[in-house]
Symmetry: C2
Subunit: 128 residues, 2 copies
DNA sequence: CGTAGTCGATTACGTATGTAGACGATGGAG
DNA sequence: CTCCATCGTCTACATACGTAATCGACTACG
């Protein structure tokens, strides 16, 4: 019984931006991650390094030495992250049921015809 | 031009629990809010008072004096809150498109037949 | 072999958040 | 009129987060 019941630590907003870069492409060095995110967010390399360290502590990233520096890669799948975050929202705001969320989005988001078609196809698949 | 371009301040997790109580029923006194949420969350009255104050500062709650104490009521509609939070999630995780979120939920959440029927009805309505 | 650039690690610091105790005003009971 | 229960406010404090500078180690260039 390894008594390390690691329920995954929460990933903050800024940290999430770093994760996205690494989900797009990995492994990357700190510098490369910065190339991806520093521009858009107006961050310095130092900031990215801090975020990377924190993500490693949170076990969200794995490191692999590459000569003098590290290569970082995600340790959790994007789909898992998306799953828990979506679930959190649905639980907090829609009593745990996905349908009301969808209803809300449908009304508020002005789905395109393509969106609607996509969803209908999905429903058909689910019903079979 | 009133230069108070108040983009609504973010409501934290704990604060959100308080908002939910007041969305269910309002106005309420601090004590009454505590009756609603202190049990489930294991909070003390003091904690609720702090959260209420912070929410007032954030303009999420309005106060109305009632003798010696205050009555609190929401100043923002739940649907607005739900809207911005949902939008945040969709933007962060699904590139701003609702359909992928739905696809994810559909696969991961095991929608009931009722859910599916509900959504189909909605789609029909949207297409007309 | 020394020096400049680069790397991760350490330290910093302000604000937000979770949680709550202490305090001063005040209104109602007696 | 006095005293106590309550109220909101102020203060407190640990942790998380956003953002970054600094520092010691190392490497590649000259």
């Amino acid at each position: 019984m390894s008594e390390t019941s690691e329920q995954p630590e929460r990933i903050s907003d800024a940290e999430h931006a770093v994760m996205e870069a690494l989900w797009r492409r990995s492994p990357l060095t700190a510098q490369e991650v910065c190339d991806e995110v520093c521009g858009p967010r107006g961050w310095s390399l130092a900031t990215v390094k801090t975020l990377l360290s924190r993500l490693v502590v949170k076990q969200a990233l794995a490191t692999e030495p590459d000569g003098k520096r590290f290569l970082y890669s995600p340790r959790i799948a994007r789909s898992d992250y998306v799953g828990t975050e979506s679930r959190r929202l649905v639980d907090r705001l829609f009593g745990g049921r996905a349908a009301p969320l969808f209803a809300h989005l449908a009304r508020a988001e002005a789905l395109t015809q393509d969106d609607i078609a996509e969803i209908e196809a999905l429903l058909k698949e689910l019903k079979s």
